[in-house]
Symmetry: C2
Subunit: 329 residues, 2 copies
Amino acid sequence: VVTRLGPGPEFDLIRRILAAAGSGAPGGADGGAVRVGPGDDCAVVAGDGIALTVDMSVEGVHFRRSWLEPSAIGYRSAAGALSDLAAVAARPIGVLASVALGPGDEEEVGPAVMEGVVAAAAAVGATLLGGDLTRSPGSLVVDIVAVGEVPRPVLRVGARPGDELWVTGTLGAAAAAVSAWLGGRSPDADAMAAFARPTPRTREALWLAERGIPTAMVDLSDGIAGDAGHIAAASGVRVVIDGPALPLSPAASAAGPDALRLAAAGGEDYELCFTARPGSVEAALAEFSERFGVALTRVGRVEAGSGAVVMDGTGRALEAGGFQHWGGA
Amino acid sequence: VVTRLGPGPEFDLIRRILAAAGSGAPGGADGGAVRVGPGDDCAVVAGDGIALTVDMSVEGVHFRRSWLEPSAIGYRSAAGALSDLAAVAARPIGVLASVALGPGDEEEVGPAVMEGVVAAAAAVGATLLGGDLTRSPGSLVVDIVAVGEVPRPVLRVGARPGDELWVTGTLGAAAAAVSAWLGGRSPDADAMAAFARPTPRTREALWLAERGIPTAMVDLSDGIAGDAGHIAAASGVRVVIDGPALPLSPAASAAGPDALRLAAAGGEDYELCFTARPGSVEAALAEFSERFGVALTRVGRVEAGSGAVVMDGTGRALEAGGFQHWGGA
């Protein structure tokens, strides 16, 4: 595969990255889904329904170099895209990575970013399929295409009045890390890890979908207030989120009065948020927890109407619809 | 489809773009290849072999705003990625577009860039499948994922000693435009059009591949000297390019002593370059020309050995292997 490339310094760098990745060869551990790996004009994959998503991370918008090592920049970029695959319950096949490197980044930063991309892909059974490498006059830019197989995708449409709203894991840790950095403090280790190396809920999503549990699903990239709004819009329903029920990460809890905002609107938790018929999750809860060691928490309900709203403990809406941020992940 | 998105200014912009695109609905003119269009966490496509490629264009590296209108920035970015699909003889299905917009670009530049992306896709029968939209602190960045179906891809491996080397169209026009701009001149209209709105050779590639003519193929993004080197490396052969045989575009011819350099190393012509058994192209030449109105020119041969070399009229090598540029398209 690597020898498909001709001479030249650009291709030397790509060769180093592909050699380090040690992946992408057709007929490998991917179960035959990769017909053509990296090094040709296109990669070619096969499967019954190919899921595709793309997620761009820009230095100065989504991360700062002072916050993250280069490998973590690559890791979180890829994890964010792979989380979108989980949101439709797709089995990951591979990633393509477009990277624009700033001045001086060729020798160490570029290969380290790609090492992180490959590590995030490998963590969910995916391989490096290809990419593009270019210069940037300024910001480092990483754009990840995640590719998976999904015969029966779980979409945003499908939620019905009477459904319950559930989330995996805990919320607000990544946002707590950003909040700490912006406030001139160092985030604690858990928050830092949540931001730098988030875990896409790939296996959890496949497990839930195999059991037909989610009626609609998204991943939490912009915060549950905004992301649940996509389910509401697509399904033509109203989603009511019970603020005090949101499972706070320890880092978010430590933020005191800011905790609910971090959990509801902080973004980049990369947990699953899905609707389900009443009782369907409870029946699976014990097995889910034992298998994955990840919490499942009921955080709201679906009603007739439109929009998504976060309620406080007294039944009042908190900043309805005001949590969006332009330029998020 | 558009109504799948919740509220928020980021999503308003995406809604405007999708409405303008007027495409991406499942079950449309794409022959059923699009199972899930834009507006969910992933797009889902189906086909016997899905070809994927990604091509990033960065302001200040691949283009300048003073050279191109925003719609042309989008058009040429998408055409470059779609040309990679043509290089493996894939039928285009769609594109995903990641765009990082600079300060002040939200209102007019962003939608115009996307209008160009959608136009380039529509020109080859492809639809907008999704994307990502974010802010950039500086440069405008457009990263295009092109998605096609290809049961039997034509790869870079397959060229054998004795094969001929062929190219479609003419070479050097896009490079002549860049050369004019960098020299403070205005490019002529043909060169400008070649740079701003290149035509991927999609139909030509499918036609040639259906007849089993190309033994190996690439598209010309970095110049034939470098791109033919990929065929040489992948196939384990030597490619000898006959410099005086290269079909010069009028704009390249007008560059006088610079003409051969523009045609051989200029890049971004997005023509096909392929190897074929002797005589196999001649048998199809008349029908090809009549059908497509595009030239097919024999420009070299395949020998035992390694590397790609451009020969001058006296049998001497011109700058063997020295044409690469880091950070090209």
